[in-house]
Amino acid sequence: MRNIYILLLIAFIIPNLKAQQTPAKKQAERIVIMGATAHLGNGQIIENSIIAFEDGKFSTVANQAIGQGFDGYKIIEATGKHLYPGFIAPNTQLGLKEIDAVRATRDSREIGSLNPNIRSIIAYNTDSKVTPTVRSNGVLIAQVVPQGSTIPGTSSIVQLDAWNWEDAIIKEDDAIYLNWPSMFSRDWRNHGAIKKNEKYEKEVKKLESLFTEASVYSNKTNTKKQNLKLDAMRGLFDEKKKLFINVNFVKSITAAVLFAEKFDIKPVIIGGRDSYMITDFLKKHNVSVILKNTQSLPRREDDAIDQPFKTPGVLEKAGILYGLSIGGAWEQRNLPFQAGQCIAYGLDKEAAVQAITLNNAKILGIDKSVGSIEEGKSATFFICKGDVFDMRTSKVQQAFIDGREIDLNNKQKDLYNKFKAKYEKR
């Protein structure tokens, strides 16, 4: 009954707010941005750049030295400002969760433990009030991921300015997520202490038979009895879908990689908290890692107090392909700071940019079209008044997705203006 009231409240209150960001129209005119410090996302930086784009794609990425020749272009003067590729947020619940604590607004979890057939994309809400607050911090692309059980489902990758989920798609059904069984469990007879999970082997065995059967199934040409779950897993065996394994403990990471390789699958490790301990192994097995929340506490009391801040720098030095992420939906607005946090702890600034742009694009398999400012790629980027990684200076002023300048207003800014005006009137 309470939920109904909440629904009613949402139904009545939300339409009354004027924040409704309309998706931008297709790029009509050619645009050139002059003078910005362009962080290309591939590790390179162009001070005093000329960045031009048309039909939604970068056409010129160069230094001011190439001079003029941009007649008929709309010119955006950006001297002293910074330009970044649109940040890419892997492993999010954007558009799946509106209000964490209100069940009616959550669509990120499904019943059952093995749900490869569950698809996030069809629940992705392009009109979420959360998304515009995320875009206005430079996050323009997101992987939308189901959560929960052992295999919560299949993710898709979207751009964050669309009329509906079909418009939003960059890559549909890009990956199956697997939450690796925990090697540890809580001991409730002992004050909830953490001990070995007695059921671990059994849980892995269960996964093994699923993957084995799915692998056999994927080779069958005519299936009399169709199995939706095994159907959904076909893509894993012909590399159309990636396998993202959410795993953090060092031994579990190793186990997860070996598990995937048994099925000729190259997994992506998501979470990867202890990845810094086994860089040789990860390198040897050519496994990429997406770290979660660098702004987090060390897992273990004895760990280095700043270990989560240092981990990206360690992976960078080891030559491992890694990206950064932050869990949840509204939290995505803080993705830039997950990268920024590591710069004082051994990560190069341009490497930090790359970690949430080109690296993430590569890991997600969308680097052909997005992830860096390069000629021919999608003009998905933003302009920041200062250093986007530092709250002290960051102000995102303009953003473009496929060359379309998107509305950076959001519900919060509307409320800000509304109440600022209330006090000014008096």
């Binding site: 001991d187 004050h191 107090i305 939906a329 709250m391 002290r392 800000y416």
Partner: protein, 1004 residues
């Protein structure tokens, strides 16, 4: 089979004369005097009092005489104990033997729906965890089987109680003799037992450690009130029982050393000198404990080594747990050295038989034998005021004593007999003859030499030829012997012989493998020759002795005790010193604003001077060139460093509870937050109820004990909360008032109205002192200040109205995410706003939160701060302050004050902290960069002029942690290799509390 003898456990019942006189008899009277005289023994009358060649006389279950010149009375059974020792039997005063089983009700606690009052029938306490009316002597049931277990371990009497509840009622002194209840209860009431566990009670309250403490304090008051006035108004047998137990020893079981400190502190209030049943980790906070001069009952369940063969698994075990494994056996010795008095308990031991083995371990680790014996005899007797009944061997006391082969804690010492109330129990027969020697065994047609090695537990082998020995299974009892063996070990043939031992000749009948009966005999031939191998061994031993000695001295290296006892703890605490930070950018938070190239002088714990060209005056100079100096960050809303529950969630008003009772000095987040420049944290109660508990204000003095972390002479605060959390909106069901914002207002109206009436009745001598209402009155009197968790403008408005109606002010609204909507009203009321920078969308009531909230409130003249409410965010509050600049329009200095000066003002401590000004506390942070920048790292953090954090030192500490872990892992692996039992790896679960946490979170 060689242990056969040790399995013999004879139980001889000796009828004594003082059976139940009132009982009718069915048969012929058989009451005997039971007079025994044990002569020629070494009698340990009491610890430290040894009588050689002495005699002990017992009669009718009591000691009649002890001494050297004792004459043996007529009719005494004489027992010669030449070469043997007599000790008083042991006493355990923390036991539950013979108590009724605890009624574990089925099913989990109902989520959302809680049990508000006791389900117990009858006029008892409102709270089911208070079982004060329980009387052990009324419920005791004699149980020979478990009593045997105790007797085998050397015990003669125990003080037993039912281990159920917070107040567990009384214990009784029970003799372990196999008699019925009427005879073995030596003393009805020996102690009142307490714990912090609710046991079988499924009632909601108390749901936290601080709630349990509050409940005990209030009940103590209630019992007094009941005695004087209350009994005329209501019937309450629990309160009556409480008063009855007020004069007996109060024994409190705790689960760690901090709980021990909490109990001792509580005792100051309740005027109880609690005896602490400890947890074995007392050595980790020994100095503080010593100040209370408490008596302990110590467990001996030393942890087993962790199985750390797999280095990845080893990661799970914390340094603190590893260190505890190493040092736990030193605990008794360290307490002895500190001059503290303690008894031992077997509680926590899986096998009572492990008692002596573990005491030997403790002795090896510094405990004296004398103290060990006291801890098993006189001290426990003294603690429960039963020294006139048990504990020593003196005339008139119960005849509970042990007969041993030697000194009681000797490794090879055997306990032969345990006499309890004059009843003999044989643990090991004393009269086994020395059978050792070489014999010739003849059976049927076979003749074969038989070697019997060892006087006690002999080994027997048949010498078939030079290379093969045949093992012989055997048993001996009272002159009867039996042997069995397989003459050819490859075949499953067996020969069984049985017979008698007469002098040097054994003989009898037996069966061959085919069942044929035969005669046999075994004739003594000669003494055993020491075997060649044995000789070698002995020589080797001598050689090894030297090696072992050198090994031993290596082995004995142990880790140091650190404060706190965990990774990053100090071996030696940092001390106050004079520091001059030079040539830095100094953020004064004062009229001077930000000073470039300036110096800050810290001395005697205070900021001495801020300016240019200062002299260190012999102190340490720190080059601050290119760096920034600020005052420490103050977190107005923190939930770190709290033990066992941040919320007492069970009632709408829990003003009686206080976080100050449960401050946890051993939380790693204290150290981590120092690395983020935090120096002061207000530890708030959660947001589960409209009137929550009182808060604790601490400085992050890492290493010190809880009381020393608290800021002295600071105004007290209390947590209020509004909205979804107090309505318990996350549960599907709720039966706790209030369930709507409308009800929340009424909780306040009711509490303040009642408090006002309570105060008006102050002169009524029959008034019951109510801790909850006393606290509410402090609020009305503006002696305690409110920090209120709040989100939505309607409720914020409401609470200000309520406060104004009752003539006080809401000091601070915390979270206050819709503060921007009512900033003008807040300003008018005079409330401050302590907010988040950018949190939103996590629940419905924060749907209108905006990151410009701080800016708007600030602009409207509201005092604004940003807090963490989160252990992670707290160590980058500087960044959160910067977000105010990112989202809104606010100056750097204003933003910086959000996390320093402004919270200091909110907490009424701005005269001491919050800015860099001569005379204020030396709470200073040296930053590597602009403090509002994400690139800034706190390089040093000072509190009271003590450098609690230094990033350069931290790198060394981290390296030392690795080295110490490696050492302990090596030691554990060696222990495992040496055959020591191990336990699987275990890790602590870390609670990182938030406002709305009222249950454990499962994380991995």
């Amino acid at each position: 089979m060689k242990h056969f003898f040790s399995f013999i456990f004879l139980f001889l019942i000796v009828q004594t004369g003082y059976s139940q006189i009132t009982f009718p008899r069915n048969g012929v009277y058989d009451d005997r005097d039971g007079i025994y005289a044990f002569k020629n023994a070494t009698i340990h009358k009491a610890p430290g009092q040894v009588l050689n060649n002495a005699t002990l006389v017992i009669k009718e279950g009591k000691i009649e005489a002890v001494g050297t010149g004792v004459s043996i009375p007529d009719g005494a059974v004489e027992i010669d104990l030449k070469g043997k020792h007599i000790y008083p039997s042991f006493i355990d005063i923390y036991a539950s033997h013979g108590m009724p089983e605890i009624n574990k009700k089925d099913g989990p606690r109902n989520r959302g729906i809680q049990q508000m009052i006791s389900n117990k029938e009858g006029p008892y306490s409102w709270n089911e965890a208070l079982r004060t009316e329980f009387r052990a002597h009324e419920k005791f049931k004699a149980d020979a089987k478990t009593a045997n277990g105790w007797i085998k371990a050397g015990f003669g009497a125990i003080s037993s109680h039912q281990m159920d509840g917070i107040s567990r009622g009384s214990a009784s002194l029970i003799s372990l003799a196999d008699k019925n209840e009427h005879e073995v209860i030596l003393k009805d009431i020996t102690a009142h037992h307490f714990s912090f566990k609710k046991g079988s009670s499924k009632q909601g309250y108390p749901g936290s450690l601080m709630g349990a403490i509050a409940l005990l304090k209030q009940t103590n008051i209630d019992s007094d009130w009941y005695k004087n006035h209350g009994h005329k108004i209501e019937k309450n047998l629990s309160l009556k029982a409480w008063d009855e137990l007020k004069s007996v020893p109060q024994i409190f079981a705790v689960s760690d050393k901090l709980e021990a400190l909490r109990v001792l502190k509580m005792g100051q209030e309740t005027k109880d000198k609690f005896i602490i049943k400890g947890s074995g980790d007392e050595y980790q906070r020994l100095e503080e404990l010593k100040k209370w001069n408490p008596t302990f009952i110590l467990p001996l369940n030393f942890p087993k080594a962790y199985d750390v063969v797999d280095p990845y698994d080893a990661l799970l075990v914390s340094l603190g747990d590893m260190k505890h494994w190493e040092l736990a056996p030193s605990n008794p010795g360290l307490l002895e050295k500190a001059g503290m008095e303690f008894a031992f308990t077997t509680d926590g031991l899986k096998e009572k038989g492990a008692l002596l083995k573990n005491i030997q371990k403790a002795i090896k680790n510094g405990l004296s034998e004398d103290t060990a014996l006291k801890a098993l005899t006189t001290i426990p007797a003294k603690i429960i005021k039963c020294a006139d009944i048990v504990g020593t061997l003196e005339k008139g006391k119960v005849a509970n004593f042990l007969i041993t082969s030697g000194k009681i804690f000797g490794k090879k010492t055997k306990i032969y007999e345990n006499w309890v109330m004059g009843i003999q129990s044989v643990l090991k027969p004393m009269d086994i003859p020395d059978l050792s020697g070489e014999y010739l065994l003849t059976y049927g047609k076979e003749k074969i030499p038989l070697k019997v090695k060892g006087a006690n537990d002999p080994k027997m082998v048949l010498v078939k030829n030079d290379t093969t020995d045949i093992k012989v299974k055997h048993s001996y009892s009272n002159g009867l012997i039996s042997l069995s063996f397989s003459p050819d070990e490859d075949k499953e043939e067996i020969i069984s012989l049985s017979g008698v031992v007469e002098d040097k000749m054994w003989s009898g009948r037996g069966t061959l493998n085919n069942g044929e009966w035969i005669n046999w005999r075994s004739v003594y031939a000669k003494e055993l020759e020491p075997e060649k191998n044995d000789k070698k061994k002995e020589e080797n031993k001598k050689d090894n002795g030297k090696k072992e000695k050198s090994k031993k001295s290596k082995k004995d290296i142990k880790g140091k005790i650190t404060y706190p006892f965990m990774a990053y703890g100090w071996e030696t605490a940092p001390e106050q010193a004079t520091y001059l930070i030079t040539n830095a950018t100094v953020w004064t938070n004062e009229e001077d604003g930000i000073l470039e190239e300036a110096d800050v002088l810290i001395s005697n714990g205070k900021i001495k001077k801020v300016g240019k060209g200062l002299s260190a005056g012999g102190g340490t100079e720190i080059d601050g060139t290119g760096k920034h100096v600020t005052s420490g960050i103050i977190d107005e809303h923190s939930h770190i460093a709290i033990s066992k529950g941040v919320n007492e969630c069970t009632q709408a008003n829990t003003a009686e509870v206080s976080i100050a009772d449960v401050v946890n000095s051993e939380d790693i987040n204290i150290y981590r937050q120092l690395s983020g420049g935090v120096t002061v944290s207000q530890l708030l109660h959660g947001s589960c109820n409209p009137i929550g508990g009182r808060s604790a204000l601490i400085k992050l003095r890492w290493g010190l004990q809880p009381e020393e972390m608290k800021m002295k002479n600071a105004d007290g605060f209390i947590k209020f909360a509004l909205g979804e959390n107090v309505k318990k909106s996350r549960s599907d069901r709720n039966n706790r008032f209030p369930d709507s914002r409308m009800g929340v207002e009424q909780v306040y109206m009711d509490a303040f109205t009642r408090a006002r009436e309570y105060k008006a009745n102050a002169s009524d001598p029959t008034r019951r002192k109510d801790l909850e209402l006393e606290v509410v009155n402090e609020i009305l009197d503006s002696k305690r200040f409110v920090t209120c968790h709040s989100y939505v403008q309607s409720e914020i408005n409401m609470l200000m109205h309520v406060a104004e109606q009752f003539g006080f002010k809401i000091n601070t609204f915390t979270h206050i995410l819709e503060g921007y909507k009512v900033a003008d009203k807040m300003k008018k009321h005079g409330a401050a706003g302590s907010s988040f920078s950018d949190w939103w969308a996590y629940k419905f009531e924060v749907i209108d939160a905006i990151p410009q909230n701080g800016e708007i409130m600030n602009q409207q003249g509201v005092l604004v701060g940003f807090n963490s409410d989160d252990a992670e965010m707290a160590r980058r509050l500087n960044q959160e302050a910067a977000k105010a600049m990112m989202y809104g329009d606010i100056s750097e200095e204003e933003a910086w004050k959000f996390v320093t000066l402004n919270p200091a003002i909110m907490l009424h401590i701005d005269d001491r902290v919050g800015s860099l000004k001569a005379g204020k506390d030396g709470d200073v942070v040296l930053w590597s960069d602009h403090p509002l920048s994400i690139y800034a790292k706190a390089e040093m953090t000072f509190i009271d002029g003590i450098k609690y954090f230094d990033r350069t030192e931290d790198a060394k500490i981290q390296a030392a942690i690795q080295t110490e872990r490696a050492r302990l892992i090596r030691k554990m692996l060696a222990a495992k290799k040496g055959g020591a039992p191990t336990q699987g790896v275990k890790g602590k679960h870390h609670h990182h509390y938030h406002c709305d946490d009222h249950e454990d979170e499962l994380s991995h």
